[in-house]
């Protein structure tokens, strides 16, 4: 119902907007509806471009915000952003497990309190080597084992390299969780417990909200933000610039302040991918923890 309502509101406001556009040519007051609602002109004028190419001025108070709607169809979400191939580089020498990335991700995606899409593992490669923190999200593999086993095409690989989940199609068999060697998939064992407003947002694979009870979830590489040329939540939240996000086709990655040529960064700093031998071809690369910015301090015992 709520979806229908918001759709109707959208259409109405669309009518108002087109009224604005054609308003110059007609005599009738296109702002009648707004007057009914007794909106007082604020006096602040906004310039708008009509479809005829005319610049018109409208009082700001008459503009109605368009309710949030998925602007991209499910089909488009399954295809991906044309001409892009997203990669992430995680610089292990910069991570001190502040978990700002995790908190931002959890908050932005309205996850259940037990659930983290992004986990920060204490790792140690060998007995004599120093332990380090390894932030781990979905690897967005180019040969994704999870996608191979999904019986209903609920999880899929897009042209831009991103692996997403359609929670409205997922049957909750959890085969993908068994198939994923990186343990990056989580299950919504119960409803995520989000507020009414978020819960009623129409579901979108790119936003991954709201998470639905009985379905699988995971890191989505924030494609909704990529469409707005913004970094993923984790990359934006990290104060140490651990996460570099970018485009393989542009051969560049950035953490917001520093930008590198992706191929050079991987070559110069000996970048690697997790479990390369499995042949999953992840899109997430790691830079080894050399020349560290911080010492390794773990309040819990080392697990690995």
């Amino acid at each position: 119902m709520s979806q229908n309502n918001s759709r109707r509101d959208f259409l109405l406001s669309g009518l108002v907007a087109s009224g604005v556009v054609t308003g110059c040519a007609t005599k009738s007051n296109v702002f009648e509806q707004s007057f009914d609602e007794q909106v007082k002109p604020s006096g602040k004028m906004v310039k708008l471009l009509s479809v005829d190419g005319e610049v018109i001025e409208v009082d700001e108070a008459y503009l109605k915000p368009i309710p949030e709607m998925p602007t991209i169809t499910n089909e488009e979400e399954r295809i991906g952003i044309p001409g892009r191939k997203f990669v992430m580089v995680i610089d292990l020498s910069r991570c001190k497990s502040l978990k700002k990335c995790q908190a931002a991700c959890d908050y932005a995606h309205h996850l259940h309190p037990d659930i983290n899409w992004l986990k920060i593992y204490p790792m140690q490669d060998a007995e004599q080597t120093a332990p380090y923190w390894q932030p781990t999200n979905c690897m967005h593999c180019d040969e994704p084992p999870c996608v191979k086993v999904c019986p209903v095409d609920a999880t899929f690989k897009r042209q831009d390299g991103i692996v997403l989940i359609d929670s409205e199609r997922c049957v909750g068999c959890r085969f993908c969780m068994a198939a994923c060697p990186y343990s990056s998939r989580i299950f919504n064992w119960e409803a995520p417990g989000v507020s009414g407003k978020i819960a009623s947002v129409p579901y979108s694979c790119e936003k991954s909200i709201p998470q639905l009870k009985g379905t699988v979830g995971k890191c989505d590489f924030c494609p909704d933000r990529a469409r707005e040329n913004k970094l993923p939540h984790c990359a934006e939240a990290c104060p140490n610039g651990v996460f570099f996000f970018g485009d393989l086709l542009e051969d560049s990655v950035t953490n917001g302040t520093e930008t590198y040529r992706f191929s050079e960064l991987i070559k110069d700093k000996s970048g690697y991918r997790l479990m390369e031998d499995l042949g999953t071809k992840p899109s997430v690369y790691y830079l080894p923890p050399v020349n560290r910015n911080f010492p390794f301090e773990n309040k819990d015992a080392v697990v690995a």
Binding site: K119, P122, G172, P181, Y182, I186, W189, V216, V303
Partner: protein, 438 residues
Amino acid sequence: MENLAKQKIIEDLLPQKFGKQGTIWVIGLLVLCSIGFYAYCRQLYYGLAVTGMRDYASWGIYISNFVFFVAISLVGSLITAVLRLSDVHWSTPLTRIAEIIAVSAITFASLIIIVDMGRPERFYNLFLYGRLQSPIIWDVIVISTYFIISLLLLYFPLLPDLKIMIGFKERNGKWLQKLYVFLGSFWKNTPAQFKITDKAINILAITIIPVAFSIHTVTSWLFATTYRPGWDSTNFGAYFISGAFLVGSGGVLIAMYVFRTHYKLEKYITDMHFDRMGKVVVLLALLYLYFNVNEFLVPAFKMKKSEEHHLLGLFTGEYAPIFWFAISTAMIIPILILIFKKGRKPKAAFVAGILVVVGSWFKRYLIVTPTLLHPFLPMYDVPASYKHYFPTWEEWAIAIGSLAGALLVITFFARIFPIVPIHETIIETESNENETHL
């Protein structure tokens, strides 16, 4: 003289009403089913959070129960198809027992897989959006095929028996009579009909063997197509199938004993049957043991880092008690009992059968869950409850309820239809007599 023998066989084998014991048994099973149903309603309402499963142990006793059901259903193809095609006649009185075990087990295998789904109401997505590259879709296809062939293999040999039973109108009562007429009134015992069913049964018996192999091979691939230690094995298909034939034959031993003592069928399910079935179980247990040695000894010899935790967990770690219990009760002890002639007497064979089935159930649990609790990356950044798995009462209730349901189907089947084929028994006795006369 001959007619008298025939009358006696029919009288002995016609389905009987539940006695006092039977009624208690049925009520007990119904209670277990209702508890399971109540638990499932809770699960539907609260979600899978009511189970002990979490992100690491994302499959638990539902899936191991599913594997168990698929496994035990394979015995239908062994007894009705493999033995029939190899012209073995002693197994004739056991065919219907084996086939109803197969049908009821495969039914509950499908139900339990729906129970395990987070979104059971979207089950139709499997048909709307099914993708052939997923082993789950392969499983859906082969299991439904197996179910239909098993049902036909149960039904066709039943037709001459239905005709016999329709003759006992007063004994049957209104409802059963209606059912028999509905199912078998077209059967007139004509040679043409016999010819066509014989042919059909032969074709089905040949088809069901590859389908039976497929259902359990594909079920093993649900695990073996992943990278995880303990599942990443090329041995898995054969390992699963050998185990499946074993648990099914163990189940047949139990059913033989129960039907024999309860329905007084000593003349039809004889000591000879226990003796021969006992030998079959020994052979199958040795075969399964062989695959177990392959499955565990070879990786243990290498002790790859990724497999080490998993293997040590089974051999000496937290799963060691269940592991050695399963190995000894499913294989070693039954072999030791059944290898001796005395051990193949009905009562001892019955005990061996129970051991096989119970041990095999736990074996399935060990195949599913310990692997999931040994992921490649450490278990970290999750609540403490995620790192262990113990089924909740809801899971136990649903799993036990499904087992009770399968038994209930078999029980009601034996109440409605003759559990030992009447017509085929008559034919067998006649041909035996002819042979002795010659």
